[in-house]
Point group: C2
Chain length 755, copies 2
């Protein structure tokens, strides 16, 4: 795929007259097909999509390869599929639940046939040979119809270019019923409308309940050629040449004549608030019928964003790296319109002078993606935080998994807290610390689904018989509480500091010294047995969440030293880590989310992500280097199965970006990045303040993954972490790499990461 | 009940210091218990409720006697029930579907017990001995708790007064999950919130899908005493002393101490747009803690509205009459807030300088209720019409059955059309005729659910094999088309006039001369057999809608002369009417809506309502007098089963009001009222223009129901109809009644109603 991609890319780029700098472009290294399909025989895809989007946009215009996508095709697209059902305007990147898929268009040629309700008679075969994607642009040939479909996007609008054969029977389907399986998440289209204000325009909306309780999706679409006729079906009701149809299963076919002009362009504005705003969105962002101009703009916007890190390395590394960066910058998604209107948590429309964002997959993204945004996207980070604070104001607590501005309570913890604390402590401008603290505090005191703070404070742990997923909850809640305490400290709120600092130590209450594992207790304080550290839980009914006792054992990022002490010191700790990374035993049932194994380490899901970095805390950084290098090499590639699990809104991508540069935020809110094994020859991070922080890795190669020595700004550097303040000051961190461990480097007590 | 009511009423009224004119008050004749229960052994209730509301208000604060009301208790209250589940703020009056029931409160005393999800542990027994209702006020003693609950209302707010025993354990339940059965109409609470901004206030909302696709109901409630503690359950999740809870099955218990102050007052503002507006609504309308003042205001508002017709008659007649007038003035309901915000058909919030109304049960109310509004409520009639036109603007066609601003497509036809045409032709100020015509035309040309205009124009009738309920549809669509044609004529739109005038004659295409009935054809033009004119259809799967061939035979209000000609002249026509009113045969299965029989005439449902008046058209007005007098006497009484079927948003009430005065709008859009048998000694209609139209019936009694002679403004009057223009001019219509028919009066050709 890589080769094919380059060929295509050059052809396109030259046709866009982008000039001589083509070879240097970061966008040229992005391969949007990475992560779009599972490896053969595995159900686990990155769940990425190849379609067109711009950074943090509302619109993701992408092909859906299933008429009814399920969780295994959560992005709508599976690289191993062979048909395309249509092109819908909204998609999630890397999630484990299939949602959105709003306003699907599908061009076809030939005669119109009668479709039964729920049927899709106009799917087309496609081939990867005749498919191309780059940031902000996707094209495919619909083989059944000899139609070339090209897609591009702006923040709030999709732009389609369909090249039909010379044909009097050219059609475009518009489907307002297309969604994930209606039986999943009680999905139902509650109401929808399609209207034809004039021969060149359609408008409408759908109100749909599903993974998000209630989404309103409005659109305004303009066609470059007149609609000659329309056939609308709403379930069993059929309308010919309708002016307006209200229903809840609307699917329409629009007729065109391409016997003279073969191209049909379609501009589609999307809004979560009104048709008027959808119209305003598209008319603002796509004022003229210049498809190539929008492709170029999208490319330029991506180029600007991706250029925030310039790297040297192999083409494979560049492709993985810039695709990962691209995947992290896809979301959180703009939810507000160009005029600032957005759907508030209380189902009213409010207005903000700044962009209002949603798609907060926080259990995933607080770990690596949000620290990356704080570094590379400080202005947007402020907007993300302020969006969450505005949400808090009407909802009463911060988001957990927020989709289209609404809570779906997916996963555990309240990991908006580390995101906000990290942003405040890193002094991101534009966030009011007192307002933020109020939100943190209330989100940590007001009980809500998944957050039983009453029993938390009463027992000092979550008793499994009162609340399932108790061990994972206890560990993750303790971390969030540490974050609250840190901001309390900063704001000199003594009482709150004491309260939350105490809560942050509750993790110890579930440590079973006898077996040296965190394990579940009941509300009488009895251990719940028997305990099998290999046994997996999913999302309820077991003390561990999408993981097992081995994987969750390491989740004390706020107090690794405390964890080391619990285990019995550095040796015991590193020995346990050694076992973790080598214990191949697997229980009969592995959770769907567990994949990408190195021993019990499972890179395909987030609970493992920080673990390889923990050796540094116990004085054996070369083992961190060994395993992070291993993961970087084994768990990422440039194919459609390039991720070892769901990319989870860019979280697996963020891990790669940090780790390939050479460090990772084990505690995502303490301003410290723990050094692993740099894999890139060079990486220059351009900071908002104009400074550059460069990381180099001399002699780095697949074999040379051990740090021999390091210098920060020319001075010898033996610390196994780097502070955010050092990065912000600009400078150079130089590593010398070699094939064998330098076990001295970074091993001393003073070199170990600060908790 | 009547006796009891008067006793109570006097006691209350004197306590309110309403002064010496008490005996004259119209409100004193209103008995809100009429129609609240079915006669023993019958499922058919008026489906009215006894609670507190003001004319055309958003809030109907009324007791719910079932925890989960179903269609047989559509108003929430059944007089034959013995327990009260709580007091919710929104109710429908007289419908056949149970909906609304938003924001239920229930006081209780004693200890709090653990309720399972969906349970209601705090229902209380009540007795009609300790219950009282009058317009704008309801009270009941909750026998299980020795609590007196009193309710009053403003347009947008409910006001509760709970008198507890001296008790440290006083509680009020607030239930945001209370609704009709969740399995009916796919009812589901999609999201809801309950918050406690301070000790005296709760706020929140629920988003619910059900009979209306998606209703948003926001509230703001203030308590006169502090909430000492709260217990909130959201299904299985339980919260103590919550600050804010989001969920979808929220039910909370609030604790109070009534050991010193026994009264707890609660003001609750409701809004369909936002919490802010709910707060504004209640703070505007109930600024102070004066319960009696709001009771007095509600009473005064009702008195003003009810005084638009002053009648003389027996106390029983007055009670039936003023209760009927009260029932007609309950809806359509205000949906906009005090600041003009309202939920538009496209699920956005828009603003109007005039009130925006909903609850349009048009298949019922276009017949009698809307003509009554045009007469007595011309300003509101303009607002009703303009609300429908605003709705049309975003929805594409006029409402059919509009609830909480949304279409539920209940019943057939497009009977907003006669309502609008009637208002325009009667020159109600403030309606733009051209805008109205555009809405009528598009609503009659744009196909939509239940309105297959394509096949209508293609076949000249609705073929049953293409669309069920075809005979009823054909007859009712022809009538709506006649209305469109009338406005086209008025606006000199020749083409449209011709088109719709032609369509208005399509009824003839389903007349089967051989059997002299309207019957179904297929799309080949074949009669569908066998035909049994006694057999009932309900709402699909049969050519007739909630009726049989006998009942629908008479539905040509736009062309009764045409119908007479079809049958073969006046004698054949009146003979057929005679058979209709005397044919006692009933099929095995009578539709639920068929009740109140006189032969095949079924006064309990609307298709029959105009039929008794049709004798006038064929020169036998004395038979109209006979049967209308019969219906007035037999089908209405002052008990809880005082209606012979569902009151249907005041339609059965409107029939009584018109008919007891002496006339009825057989064609509700032609400005003509057909004279029946006046039952009141005197009725004075106060018109908006300041004029009075008085109708007197000398010698009228149960026996004296035949018109002997009549005078209009002192001159002999033999016409069997009266024109709207005559009424508007003011004047007196005097009847002299007697025990035997004067078969001469009104029998001449020139005396017959103009079509």
């Amino acid at each position: 795929m890589k080769f094919k991609k380059i060929i295509y890319c050059c052809a396109i780029v030259s046709s866009l007259n982008l000039g001589a700098q083509t070879a240097e472009k970061k966008t040229s290294h992005v391969n949007p097909f990475i992560g779009t399909g599972a490896a053969h025989g595995s159900p686990l895809s990155g769940n990425n999509y190849p379609g067109a989007t711009v950074p943090f946009g509302m619109v993701q215009l992408s092909p859906d390869t299933r008429n009814i996508p399920d969780w295994s095709v959560a992005s709508g697209y599976n690289y191993n599929d062979t048909t395309i059902a249509g092109f819908s305007h909204t998609h999630l990147s890397g999630t484990g639940v299939a949602e959105l898929f709003d306003v699907m268009l599908m061009p076809f040629s030939g005669s119109v046939v009668k479709e039964e309700a729920g049927q899709n008679a106009y799917q087309s075969k496609f081939s990867h040979d005749k498919e191309f994607a780059k940031p902000g642009y996707y094209s495919v040939e619909l083989l059944d119809y000899q139609i070339k479909a090209e897609l591009t996007a702006t923040t709030h609008a999709g732009f389609h270019k369909y090249s039909f054969p010379k044909n009097k029977e050219a059609h475009i389907v518009i489907d307002l019923d297309h969604s994930m399986k209606k039986s999943d998440w009680n999905t139902r289209v509650i109401a929808s409308q399609l209207s034809f204000p004039n021969d060149y325009t359609i408008e409408g909306y759908r109100i749909i309940t599903g993974w998000a309780p209630m989404r309103k999706v409005y659109f305004h679409a303009e066609f470059s050629q007149p609609i000659l006729h329309n056939h609308v079906a709403d379930g069993g009701n059929v309308y010919e040449n309708a002016k307006i149809v209200n229903g809840n299963a609307i699917r329409a076919i629009l007729d065109f004549d391409t016997s003279k002009e073969q191209e049909i362009l379609v501009k589609v504005g999307i809004s979560a608030t009104s048709i008027e705003n959808a119209r305003l969105n598209v008319q603002t962002e796509i004022p003229v019928w210049n498809f190539e101009a929008i492709v170029n703009t999208a490319d330029a916007v991506w180029e600007k964003e991706l250029s925030k890190i310039k790297i040297e390395g192999t083409e494979e590394q560049k492709q993985i790296f810039y695709t990962a960066l691209y995947h992290t910058f896809i979301q959180p998604n703009t939810l507000s319109d160009v005029n600032g209107d957005y759907p508030s948590a209380d189902f009213t429309v409010r207005n903000s002078s700044k962009s209002y964002y949603s798609t907060f997959s926080l259990w995933d993204t607080y770990r690596g993606a949000h620290p990356l945004y704080t570094l590379l996207q400080p202005e947007r980070s402020a907007d993300f935080v302020n969006s969450m604070l505005a949400y808090y104001k009407v909802f009463g607590y911060l988001p957990i998994w927020q989709l289209w501005g609404q809570e779906n309570y997916c996963m555990i913890g309240n990991h908006a807290i580390p995101v906000i604390v990290d942003a405040v402590l890193k002094k991101i401008p534009g966030i009011d610390a007192e307002t933020a603290f109020e939100a943190l505090k209330n989100s940590s005191l007001r009980e809500h689904p998944g957050s039983p703070f009453g029993i938390w404070e009463k027992y000092g742990y979550i008793p499994e018989n009162l609340k399932s997923q108790s061990v994972s909850l206890t560990l993750e809640m303790a971390y969030d509480d540490w974050c609250v305490a840190e901001l309390a400290k900063k704001l000199v709120k003594i009482d709150e500091y004491n309260q939350f600092a105490e809560r942050s130590q509750f993790y110890k209450n579930l440590y079973d010294k006898k077996i040296s594992f965190f394990r579940a207790k009941d509300d009488k304080g009895n251990w719940i047995g028997p305990f099998d550290p290999l046994k997996y839980g999913a999302n309820g009914g077991y003390p561990f969440t999408e993981g097992n006792g081995w994987q969750y054992f390491w989740y004390v990022p706020q107090d690794v030293k405390g964890l080391i002490n619990l285990v019995g010191g550095n040796n015991a700790f590193t020995k346990k880590l050694d076992t973790f990374f080598t214990l191949e035993d697997k229980p009969e049932e592995v959770n769907d989310n567990a994949s990408g194994f190195i021993g019990q380490y499972a890179h395909g899901n987030e609970p493992s992500h920080h673990i390889a970095y923990l050796y540094n805390y116990a004085g054996e950084p070369w083992k961190t280097q060994k395993y992070t290098a291993d993961i970087l090499k084994k768990m990422y590639n440039t194919t459609s199965s390039g991720y070892s699990g769901n990319d989870d809104c860019g979280e697996l991508s963020a891990w790669y970006i940090f780790s390939s540069i050479g460090f990772y935020p084990v505690n995502p809110a303490n301003g410290v990045y723990v050094i692993g094994s740099p894999r890139l020859k060079e990486a220059s991070i351009e900071l908002k303040n104009g400074k550059i922080f460069k990381v180099t890795a001399k002699n780095v190669s697949d074999q040379n993954s051990y740090i021999q020595s390091a210098k920060l700004n020319g001075k010898s550097y033996t610390k196994t972490f780097v502070k955010h303040t050092d990065i912000e000051a600009g400078g150079t961190l130089e590593f010398v790499m070699g094939p064998k461990p330098n076990k001295n480097w970074g091993s001393k007590l003073e070199d170990r990461p600060i908790n």
